[in-house]
Amino acid sequence: MSIKSILDHKISRKSFIRGMPAAAAAIAAVPGLQLAQATPAAAAEAETKPGYYGAPRTWMWNPNANSMVDTSKWKKAGPYTIGFSNASISNAWRVAFQHGVLWSAGQHRDEIAHLLVTDANDDPSKQIADIQDLISQGVDILLIAASTEDALDSVVGRATEQGIPVVMVDRKVKTPANYITYVTASDWALGRLEAQWLCETLGGKGNIVMLPGIAGSSVAEIRIKANEEVFSKFPGIKVLEKQYCDWNPATGKSVMAALIQKHGKAIDGVLSDSALQGYGAIEAFLDAGYKDGEFPPITGGDVARMYQLASQHNIKMVGIDYPTSMGITGIETALDVLKGISVPDKVEVSFQVVTSPGADTVSVKGDRHLLDHVSMSDPGDLSPSNGLPAGYNPSTFNPDYPK
C-alpha cells in the first residue's frame, strides 16, 4: 500500500475533520497513524470530560503488524445504496447502535442514496432471508450485525461470492474470508480488563458468579474466554456459577435473585459482561435487602442505569461500554470500502474504562469516574458511548436518513 493511500484514507474520514484538536500536533508529526481508527464519538466530549481519546490501545499496543485490506477492487462511483441487516433492536444497546447507523447515513447524504434497514428480531433464519432480500434490492454493499456467527456464515459467504462486499459490525460470522472487515471493539481486552479488575479488587480470593450475554454469540463467548484467561492466573478465585442472561435486565435480575437465594453472602463478586444484565443484578441485590457497603464488586458497561445505581449505592464497579458508536464507524467503513480506501481487517473503536471513585486497581486504572461518564438525570437506558449529538435521548431520537 502506498503512502498516498494511507494519507487519503485518513484525510477522507469524517473523524479527522470532526475531531481531536488535542492530537493535532501529533498528527502533523506522524501523518495518518495517530488517527488509524479514532472514534468520531470521542471528538465532541474531549473538551468537557476526562477520558482516553487517543487511537485505540489495542491498535497502538498490538505487538504484531496491523494488517490492512486493499479494497480497490470494490471501488465504484456513488451515490450508493447500503443494505444494513441488523440482528435485532431488542435491547437498549441495539437501539442506540442502530440510531448511530441511521444518523451517520444522514450525515453522508451526499454519498448515500439509500440506506435499507432490516431487523431479524434475533432470529437467524429471518436474518438469512433479510440478507437475501437486501441483495435482491441491488445493494452496493452490505453492513451486517450477525445474530449468530455460525448460522449466518454461509449466506454472508454467498453474498461475497456474488460480488457484494460485506462489512460486519458488532457481531461477525465464523469465516474471515467471507467478509472484508469487522467493525468492533476488542472483546478480548474488555473481558480481560473486567476480570482482572474483579480479581484484584477481591485480593485474588473469593467466590464469583458469571453473568454472560447470549449463548453462542461471538461477543459473549469471546468475553467468557478472556475472563477465563484471567481466572486461570488466580487460583483463589472460584467461579460458583455461569448463567447466560441474554443481555436482558429482567433476565439478569431473575437469574441473580435465584443465585442470591442459592448462595447468599457466599457471592463475593459478580462478573457481568454488560450493564444490561448488570443493573438487573444490582436490583436483585437491592430486593434481597443488601445495604450500601454490602454489595459485592460488580462489572458491566453499556447503559447509564448501572453507573447511576453504582454511584447511588456506593458499589465498587468497573464499566467498559461496548461502544454503540461503532454503528457510526460501520457506515464510515462501508463508504471507505466503496471508495477503494484501504481499511484494517478489523476496525476496533476505542472505549473508556470507567471506575467507581477509589476503585482503581494495580492493573486497571479508570479513564474517568462514574459521574464523569453519565449524569444522574440521564435516561436509564442511555448508551453513554453513543457518539451522537449532545442531548441524545433514545426514546425521542428520530434521525432523518436517506431511505
Binding site: L116, T118, D130, G138, D150, A151, V155, G216
Partner: protein, 316 residues
C-alpha cells in the same frame, strides 16, 4: 353427513382460500407500486427459496390441527435435528445418504411418540407436546449449548439450488403439498383425519381406528419437521440448538390464516400453502419498503387477526 352440509362446508373453505388469495393479490399489487425491484424474477426466486422451512412445519401443524390437536414440539424438534445433522455431517460428510433418512426416521418417531402419549395418557396435546418440546430442548442443550457442526458444500447448495430459475426447494415444497392435499381428499386414511378432528366420539362410534389416526397425524408432523430441518441445516450450514424456537408459533400462523380452524375437522393444505406464501411475502415486502421493523410486527399481527376474523365471522 348430508350432501348439503358437505357442500356448504366446502364453499366456506373455498371462500377462505379466496380471502387469503385476495390478500396475496393486494400484497403483490402494493409491492409492485412501492418498489420497482419487488416483482423482478430475482426477487420472486428469492421469495420462493424462503418458503420451504416455514412451509414444511406449517404443513405438519395442519395435519395435527385438522385432527383436533396442536403440536408445540415442532420448534424444538427442528432445532434438535439441525444439531444432529450438522454434527453427524461434520463427522462423516460422505454419509449424507445415511444421515438424511436417519433424521427423518427419528423425527417421525418423536412425532409418533407425541401421538402415543396423548392417546395413552389422555392428556391434552397442548400439554404433551409442550412437555416434549421442553425435554427435546433440554436434551439438545445437554449435548451442545452453542451452534456448531458443519455440512459439505454440496449439501448446503441444495438449499440454494435452482432449476431453470426456479428454486429446487420450492418445487419440492409444492410437490409435497400436492401429495398431502390428494391424500387428505382422496384416501380413506386422509379423510379420517377430518372425521377424527370434527367429532372424535362419532368417529370412534363409526368404527374408525381413532387412536391410530391420532398417532399418524403426529407422526406426519414429525416427518415434516424432519424435512424442514434438512433444508434449514443446508441453509445455515450449522446445527443450532435454538434456531427453531420461533418456528413453533410461526407454524400456527399460516394454518389459521389459511382457514383451518383450531378446533379441528375443517380446513386444508391449500389454505396453509397460501398462508405460508402470504406470511413470507409480507416479510419480504416489508423489507423492500424499508419501514421501521416496529411496524412489521404490528402489520403481521393485524393480518393474522383480520384473516382469522373474516373466516370466523363467515361461519356465524
Amino acid at each position: 353427513m348430508s350432501a348439503i352440509a358437505m357442500e356448504i362446508r366446502r364453499n366456506r373453505l373455498v371462500m377462505s382460500y379466496l380471502i387469503v388469495a385476495m390478500l396475496l393479490v393486494v400484497l403483490v399489487v402494493a409491492g409492485g407500486f412501492l418498489s420497482d425491484r419487488f416483482l423482478t424474477w430475482r426477487n420472486v426466486g428469492n421469495l420462493f427459496q424462503q418458503l420451504i422451512v416455514l412451509g414444511m412445519v406449517s404443513l405438519g401443524q395442519t395435519f395435527v390441527v385438522l385432527m383436533g390437536g396442536i403440536d408445540l414440539a415442532i420448534g424444538s424438534l427442528v432445532s434438535a435435528l439441525t444439531v444432529f445433522l450438522a454434527n453427524f455431517l461434520e463427522w462423516r460428510p460422505d454419509l449424507v445418504w445415511l444421515a438424511l433418512p436417519l433424521a427423518l426416521v427419528a423425527a417421525t418417531a418423536v412425532g409418533a411418540l407425541n401421538g402415543l402419549l396423548t392417546v395413552v395418557l389422555r392428556v391434552h396435546s397442548l400439554i404433551v407436546t409442550l412437555g416434549m418440546s421442553s425435554i427435546i430442548f433440554g436434551a439438545t442443550l445437554m449435548y451442545r449449548k452453542e451452534p456448531g457442526g458443519s455440512v459439505p458444500r454440496a449439501f448446503a447448495d441444495v438449499a440454494y439450488a435452482k432449476i431453470a430459475g426456479i428454486p429446487v426447494s420450492a418445487i419440492i415444497l409444492v410437490a409435497i403439498f400436492a401429495l398431502a392435499g390428494l391424500w387428505l381428499q382422496r384416501t380413506r386414511s386422509g379423510r379420517s383425519i377430518y372425521f377424527v378432528g370434527g367429532d372424535r366420539e362419532a368417529a370412534r362410534l363409526n368404527g374408525l381406528p381413532v387412536d391410530r389416526i391420532v398417532v399418524l397425524a403426529y407422526a406426519l408432523s414429525g416427518l415434516c419437521a424432519g424435512i424442514a430441518a434438512i433444508f434449514l441445516t443446508a441453509r445455515t450450514g450449522v446445527g443450532d440448538p435454538r434456531i427453531g424456537v420461533a418456528l413453533t408459533l410461526q407454524s400456527v400462523t399460516p394454518v389459521v390464516v389459511g382457514g383451518t380452524i383450531l378446533a379441528g375437522g375443517r380446513g386444508g393444505v391449500l389454505g396453509t400453502f397460501l398462508g405460508v406464501l402470504l406470511v413470507t411475502m409480507l416479510n419480504n415486502l416489508l423489507n423492500f419498503v424499508n419501514v421501521s421493523s416496529y411496524y412489521q410486527w404490528v402489520i403481521q399481527g393485524l393480518i393474522i387477526i383480520i384473516a382469522v376474523g373474516i373466516h370466523t365471522s363467515r361461519r356465524r
